[in-house]
Amino acid sequence: MAKLWIFVTLVSLLPFLGSSFSSENPTDRRILVLLDDFAIKSSHSIFFKSLQTRGFELDFKLADDPKLSLQRYGQYLYDGLILFSPTIERFGGSVDLAAVLDFVDSGHDLIVAADASASDLIRDIATECGVEFDEDPAAMVIDHTSYAVSKTEGDHTLIASDGFIQSDVILGSKIIEVPVLFQGVGHTLNPTNNLVLKVLAASPSAYSVNPKSKLSTPPSLTGSAISLVSVVQARNNARILISGSLALFSNQLFRSGVEKAGSSTKFEKSGNEQFVTELSKWVFHERGHLKAVNVRHNKVGETGEPAIYRINDDLEYSVEIYEWSGTSWVPYIADDVQVQFYMMSPYVLKTLSTDQKGRYFTSFKVPDVYGVFQFKVEYQRLGYTSLSLSKQIPVRPFKHNEYERFITTAFPYYGSSFSMMAGFFIFTITYLYNK
């Protein structure tokens, strides 16, 4: 009976084990979507549909659902969290600020969309991620020079922004040509936090104030210091997307045309869909997730990995790096992977050559300093998960018989001692037998 029970439990767990996030399959699978209102599910359905067609299982819940929980029995039920609930003051169930942060701290991904009059809870979550929204709850980003021309919206809060971050891995290799429509609240990045990146920046003429009040004191956020959309990649490779606008993800802005003020080109469809889709691919690890395998090193001309190197040995080092494409691991191609031969500080730092099939290799001479060294690959690139490989290897000095034996300079010494020996030999004979 007990066996049957265990079997039933295991079988019921199988679908969870099969579909969840793992290092072999790093794309998120199960995503919890917290909404203020179920109407957002239909008003933002294109975004949700694009996630679903990419294989994500979305679980829509009201943010104040009393049965809300992120984990059960110490296991997380989801791999990603989407907070489309800008006005929520308190989550229902067992979820709170600490639970959301723990969720991220354990390597899971998060999308937060705020809006004008975002709640303190949403602001607190953003602050913990290194992003500070404008403190004035009624503030919105206004831009009088790069707004989206509209027949119906006259207050220039609908911004057509094209201040994208220059990164293929975050925004996809296809350049976003159409400006992105944004309407919401701006934020700044904490200057001391270097994990957070501005993905969509406001133009230099933008400012963040309450559009209905008069401007008497200088606005706290101005110019391109205002970030509209930011991303964070934590040290544990958890990824976070923070947007100051929920409307950015909406069907309405996905479909609406754009004409940026001052430019004569009118686009049929805004860049929002491409921008949001590509960004969500990055956030949910469909792109930019690297893994390194087959780290090898050996002496030139040998194949086995030695336990120790001697100073001045020539060695070869190689590593294979692959990138997750959403469905499979593909070779990662770059020309800036570097290896360090490191003891307290790098003695050798060399860029690896690549065969364009994911293998990176190089060879160099072991320095003439002995001690315990490390092969280190610290690969940190914008948008990619960081690779940090290290392999310890001792380096010994020459053995006594490995030094040079016939030093020309010493020949006079040898010559004199051998001639003395020969003299001694002759001398013994003559001395003993002379009469």
Binding site: D336, F341, Q380, M421
Partner: protein
């Protein structure tokens, strides 16, 4: 909790009190419908989806290719054939048929009818009743000749009504406890079907109570801030859209079959229409169908037909003198009954008391069905205005058919080009106020001033902004920015004193704020407003500031954010510098000295020859001569061992060999030397 639709927040930004503008269905819905309802492999997944697609196309007036219809028809015929299908399948097959008019076998209807009637009798769940009654009603519709009716209409009406709750919502079955708004819509549709199919008149008092239920249901309507009404659904799997759509369908169906008015409030009907239109273009098939189908119900019903007031544009440019246009349509975009749109009043958003226009009628152009205001009053200047419109129906009878919102408050923006005059930047001496340097600025063109000042001086920037009508214009954003070389920025709002915009920067009081940072400051001026067509951000040039040295406790400038991209990227390569090999004298020198070391040996040999050495003392006896030879062979081998030691052997092998050789040498040496000693002793004694 105040729930806001995310997309409605857009509208809220305009103003909380002003009603938002909703637009009737447009071509964007049509193209979206074609995209969303694109069949997979020339067919849809289920008949339900097929119906939703066909119904949406029908409402939107889209003609679809016939080949899909053919395939769909074959499925419909199969479902309505002799093989038994579930009531749900029958229902949707009949619904699809009602649109496509397939050639179906009417003979089979009798069997289906009797089966469905049996289902109706036994059914106790609302869903079963809904499908079977719906199917029967459709059969009656399809085949006018058939005699489809419900014998015990009152009883069935009762059994459906029994599931209703006191708040107007319905339960799905008698055993289920949860009441649902979505179910209320289904129940009302089913009840409408019962009334339609009843062989005798249904009890009017029963219909009265249902009407009462509808009223209660409408009391539970929830309202968004922008004037949209919707039914909220407490059960999780249904959203407000499907619940509201279901109720609208149900109420429309019920109103169609019953006589007398439902007494529904007109503003709530308009609110419901606003809700469906406010969604915009939904992204999923189900939502689109719900939206379009309910709008079609609202377009043609027996209670109130909502009229949607919309403005093609609320931003007008004074430079092009656009005409103010207003449209009044039904929800699906068809023309309204004859009516007049009146501009009740219009006032600047700043001053409500002084309207610029009052009571003006808009001119109607029947061709384009647009109401337009011909001449804007001369007093309209750039800025934000609130316009209040009113819709008046010509025919008083129409007031019972059509519902309008009454008054519409609409924010309007009038934009224009602002003139910038007499802009100048001046460096003043602090004490006397005398002008040190003065430069004129051309803010419409390129400017590049270069000024220098110290902390005892002041900087004054002034300019004039005038509207096309010559009034002083006060933009929302007039900001001066000074940026130091180290990227520390200082922002000042430029105030206006009466006519002129002016800012005076007294550097003495700003020294601390500037963190005592001397050097080049770039000056940037931003002037922008929603009503200003020539908003600009301009680099004016720079000022070289000479500020005093910072005192000990001066605050440091805040850390500036470093460009994250600089953190990434490859590092510079490091190659190890190896210890240089020891310096050796040239080879030739070593070989010369090697040659020189042989010279003493040669000299020694020559000396021996000169001394005429001989070997006469060599032992003669066989034994002792053997030992002597062995002794010298031994010495030779030791010396050779030394040579080998140099050439290849290591210390241990050498010592081992030397041990053996030494013992051997000791022995033979002892014998040889003792022999020689005894020989010389003999010689001495003799």
């Amino acid at each position: 909790m105040a729930r806001n639709l995310g997309f409605l927040v857009l509208f809220l930004s305009l103003s909380l009190c002003e009603a938002a503008i909703f637009r009737p269905i447009t071509d964007s819905h049509r193209s979206a419908a074609l995209e969303i309802f694109a069949p997979v492999d020339r067919s849809y997944i289920s008949l339900e989806e097929t119906y939703e697609a066909l119904r949406t196309f029908q409402v939107l007036g889209i003609k679809k290719a016939a080949d899909i219809n053919k395939e769909t028809c074959s499925i419909v015929v199969e479902k309505l054939g002799p093989s038994s299908s579930s009531p749900k399948d029958l229902f949707y097959a009949l619904r699809v048929n009602s649109i496509l008019k397939c050639n179906i076998n009417v003979d089979n209807f009798e069997v289906i009818t009797s089966k469905l009637q049996a289902v109706v009798k036994d059914a106790n769940s609302l869903i079963d009743l809904y499908y079977s009654i719906g199917s029967l009603a459709l059969i009656k519709d399809e085949d006018a000749g058939s005699n489809v009716h419900l014998g015990d209409a009152d009883g069935i009406f009762h059994s459906i009504k029994a599931l209703s709750q006191s708040d107007g919502r319905w339960r799905y079955s008698s055993s289920g406890a949860e009441s649902s708004t979505f179910a209320a819509g289904l129940a009302l549709e089913a009840l409408a079907g019962v009334v339609l199919l009843a062989s005798s008149e249904v009890d009017q008092s029963m219909i009265g109570t249902v009407k009462n239920d509808i009223m209660k249901l409408f009391d539970s309507l929830e309202r968004y801030n922008d004037g949209a009404f919707y039914f909220d659904e407490k059960l999780e799997h249904q959203g407000p859209l499907s619940a509201t759509a279901s109720v609208v369908r149900g109420v429309t169906a019920f109103a169609a079959v019953t006589s007398g008015s439902l007494n529904l409030p007109g503003d709530k009907i308009v609110g419901l229409a606003n809700f469906f239109l406010g969604i915009g273009v939904p992204g999923t098939a189900k939502d689109l169908f719900d939206q379009i189908d309910s709008l079609a119900c609202l377009e043609n019903n027996r209670f109130f037909i909502p009229l949607i007031f919309s403005l093609p544009a609320s931003v007008h440019s004074l430079t092009t003198r656009d005409r103010l246009k207003v449209k009044v349509n039904t929800v699906l975009g068809s023309n309204s009954p004859p009516l007049t749109v009146k501009l009740v009043k219009a006032f600047s958003s700043g001053s409500k008391e002084t309207p610029i226009v009052e009571n003006k009628e808009l001119k109607f152009d029947p061709e384009s069905s647009i109401h337009s205001l011909d001449i804007l009053p001369k007093t309209v200047d750039v800025g934000k205005y609130i316009f209040v419109f009113e819709v008046v129906l010509h025919d008083p009878e129409h007031k019972k058919i059509y519902a309008t919102e009454g008054q519409y408050q609409v924010p309007m923006f009038f934009t224009g080009v602002i003139k910038i005059n007499s802009a100048e930047i001046v460096v003043l001496d602090s004490d006397l106020g005398s002008i040190e340097t003065k430069q004129k600025l051309d803010l419409s063109g390129e400017t590049d001033v270069s000024l220098s000042a110290n902390h005892l001086q002041k900087l004054r920037l002034s300019f004039l902004l005038t509207t096309p009508l010559g009034h002083v214009f006060k933009p929302h954003q007039v900001v001066l920015k000074l940026r130091h070389e180290t990227k520390v920025e200082h922002i000042f709002v430029v105030g206006n004193s009466g006519k002129q915009f002016e800012i005076v920067l007294d550097f003495l009081s700003l020294v601390e704020k500037f963190y005592y940072l001397s050097g080049r400051y770039d000056i940037q001026l931003t002037v922008g407003d929603a009503a200003m067509e020539n908003s600009f951000l301009k680099a004016l040039g720079h000022v070289e500031l000479d500020l005093p040295e910072p005192p000990e406790k001066a605050t440091r400038p805040p850390p500036q954010r470093v460009d994250p991209c600089s953190r990434y990227g490859s590092k510079q390569e490091i190659t190890h510098i190896f210890r240089a090999p020891e310096k050796h004298p040239p080879k030739e020198l070593a070989f010369t000295f090697l040659g020189l070391t042989v010279l003493p040996f040669i000299g020694f040999l020559i000396g021996l020859l000169c001394l005429r050495v001989n070997l006469k003392n060599f032992p003669t006896s066989a034994v002792s001569s053997t030992f002597a030879v062995l002794f010298h062979v031994g010495i030779t081998s030791v010396l050779l061992l030394y040579l080998l030691f140099w050439l290849k052997l290591d210390l241990f092998t050498t010592l081992k060999a030397l041990g053996f050789l030494g013992a051997f040498l000791l022995f033979v040496g002892h014998r040889t030397l003792s022999h020689l000693a005894s020989a010389s002793a003999k010689l001495k004694s003799s």
